[in-house]
Symmetry: C2
Subunit: 455 residues, 2 copies
């Protein structure tokens, strides 16, 4: 196997100062969760941006040895990073790919935004230069996600010997939606990706949309492959078995008693559809009074991208709605929604162990790992209620309960069905979802990427 | 030629009481503007909803003779009409087809909305029953627009002898966007349209999107045809030559003096992109100071669908922005934006006679007749700055200045280019746009529909 290089914005390790010494920590986010376990032991070199002062100090030291692979943090000028990350990646591309713009008003592309695009290109070039200077001849280079879409083209130019594959974790949008971008930028973006030997996605739907866009904008096809990431089954089971998780489960049990529990675990993110999830619960309590007092909705969500005003506004709306629903239906002994916006991973896993119904209702989602993690650790033969707009729908749609995330009546009915399932039905459902959720391994996912690079 | 039947929500005539007597008036809206002149003299029967008390009184009288055709107003129960028109047609279908939902929040499909869908079906059935009871054997039936999408299927069932064609004046959306609808409703909607002998659109882009949706949802293809409507050249020239128009032009001239004039004429409608149009003008004044004091933006826009909160909110935003821009740049002798939300058609035509630049920048538009009407009556060799997202782009894109409606810097640059054109360039441009805008007649458009029914 040729030498392996991974490139992503966020890396598998972050650094911190403790008592003046530089120490390493495990990096966060879905990409690292999915990719980290597969890369361990491969001897790969993993390039990622240095995000903090400690990261930058580590970057100055060069390469860091980790568990069977090496990490290369890259220093990026902070203002350029902000434009590349906040303005272009999360302020525009994320919204375009997820279809989240209120198009009568946003985006409003202007001079400032064009400067941000220049910064995006510069940061991609910084990554390309570092990889080009370091990678061994004929290396396989796996570029991960929409922050680094121009990297394949940059590398193809600088190092034609490298076998570059690009993988995008988000959805891809239809050509109609991509037309919000200036034509020259759409061409540059798609050309950047299509210069890879192949572009990978978690679902055929996103791969097909990307192909339609390259036809429309570039007038040619691009090679794609579909390979959904797997949950880190060993990792999540280890957390589930840990003392902090068990303690959190005990605390949750004390709160909910013998009631049924609907759970959601999500970033507070517009695509995750928290609002309609709570509206559906409200509709359930309104239309099926037998559930009042007998079910709790445990929403263990955590803040995300709070530098962006859209996210702050969304969080406020979500929290206002939770207060309203609890005010409407709550009684002395029963709080309908347990809402806690603290990022507490062991507690999230505790909720996954405990759910009777797991609600995963994004308006659009590249994959959604929670829908795979839940069935792997759940101990109650819980039911998965899954949006047909998630990428993971292609793997779990055959076994999960289907919901249309835009339809709160439909979602309420799906919740009612799930809560009303017999013990036998639940056992069958749980077995089937557990099998489907665990069907693939991280190694298979990595293997698909390496194979696409060789092809 | 077989007998001809037209069906649309709004008809070519409206009725009113004057001194207690029922009198007729010309109906409004783009559909009637485009279709009315072609239908005159054909002997067609035109079915449309009775919207007012006077309309309903006319409906009770049965068929009304008009100029070479007959009008059949249909009485619809007011509450059903409101749900069919406000909730389903304009509250959901319009937003879906134009891509205007802020999907993190809207739509929120619920029980009330499902009841509205039942009303939409009922009103479509009311139309179908009236047509089925009245139409001569083998009639050609032309069903117009998204209010009546279920009519072709209803008619196919009730009267298989009729040759029904469906024409949609709005854009059509990609399959991704249609997925906000409940699956059963998407199937019913597309099945309703696809039961026609053919479905017509103003642009190939919308026809292709419809075909993609029928493949995705129905698993089969549907026959489509593309036939852009024409402006009513004689009608608009007659208004241009009228005394009220000439008087309005004199008043406008008194306001603007010898300054250059950017004009827009639009409904106050989210798809029309008024906000970014004004932001672009703001950017022009900021970045090209030579234009301060030398150009006026005359925005003759008029309220629309004010029963819907989205439209009221949008109008308030627009008017706040206009005040801000006039406050920033205006001087004692110069108001940068002349904004007047009065529906005054002769004055709108006066503005079309006078423009140096006509700004047509919708985020999405089925066709856009103003882009055709302007060049036909303009007297200044004015320049057309046209959104590539309008359906009319397919006809005028070769001659108009292209703009990306999401990009205010680009729009500002296009305005600056248009304002800076030499007299000769403008004369060439105006000749070419006038020719392209007048290339088709209403009769050709109607002929295409009748031919599609025969095929």
């Amino acid at each position: 196997m040729p030498p392996l290089v991974i490139v992503s914005n966020r890396g598998p390790l972050s650094f911190a100062f403790e008592d003046g010494r530089l120490v390493t920590r495990k990096g966060g986010g879905g990409l690292v969760t999915a990719l980290g376990p597969a890369v361990a032991g491969t001897g790969a070199t993993w390039f990622a941006a240095a995000l903090s002062d400690a990261d930058r100090q580590a970057a100055a030291a060069g390469t860091i040895e980790a568990e069977g692979f090496r990490v290369r943090p890259l220093t990026v000028e902070p203002n350029a990073y902000r434009m590349y990350y906040d303005v272009v990646s999360n302020g525009l591309l994320w919204f375009v790919y997820h279809g989240l713009f209120d198009l009568a008003r946003r985006p409003r592309i202007d001079r400032r935004w064009r400067e941000a695009w220049d910064a995006y290109r510069d940061v991609n070039r910084t990554f390309a230069e570092a990889v080009a200077a370091d990678a061994d001849d004929g290396s396989t280079v796996l570029v991960h996600d929409y922050h680094l879409s121009l990297l394949p083209a940059e590398l193809a130019q600088k190092r034609p010997d490298l076998r570059t594959v690009y993988f995008q974790h988000t959805p891809f949008c239809a050509p109609d939606a991509l037309r919000v971008l200036p034509a020259s930028i759409a061409t540059e973006l798609l050309g950047g990706m299509a210069a890879a030997r192949a572009c990978g996605f978690h679902a055929t739907r996103w791969a097909a949309a990307f192909e339609a866009c390259t036809h429309d904008v570039l007038g040619r096809s691009a090679r794609t492959f579909v390979s959904p990431a797997s949950a880190d089954a060993d990792g999540i089971r280890a957390v589930a078995a840990s003392e902090p998780c068990t303690e959190a489960l005990r605390a949750l049990e004390a709160d909910v008693g013998d009631r049924q529990v609907i759970v959601r675990v999500d970033r507070i993110e517009l695509s995750k559809n928290l609002l309609r999830g709570f509206h559906a619960f409200d509709e359930l309590l309104r239309t099926a009074p037998e559930w009042r007092g007998r079910v709790v909705f445990a929403a263990f969500v955590y803040p995300s991208r709070e530098g962006r005003p859209e996210y702050l506004a969304y969080r406020q709306e979500v929290e206002g709605l939770v207060r309203r629903i609890n005010g409407t239906w709550g009684t002395a002994g029963w709080t309908p929604i347990l809402y806690d916006p603290e990022d507490d991973f062991p507690r999230s896993v505790a909720a996954l162990r405990r759910y009777d119904v797991l609600l995963v209702n994004p308006v659009r989602d590249g994959l959604n790992l929670v829908a795979k993690e839940g069935p792997l650790v759940n101990e109650r033969d819980g039911v998965l209620a899954l949006s047909r707009e998630s990428g993971v729908w292609e793997e779990l749609g055959g076994v999960a309960l289907e919901l249309n995330p835009f339809d709160v009546s439909d979602t309420a009915e799906v919740l009612a069905s799930a809560l009303s399932m017999s013990r036998d039905e639940r056992a069958d459902h749980a077995r089937a979802t557990r099998e489907a959720a665990g069907a693939r391994t991280s190694q298979q996912w990595l293997g698909d990427q390496v194979e696409a690079a060789a092809g």
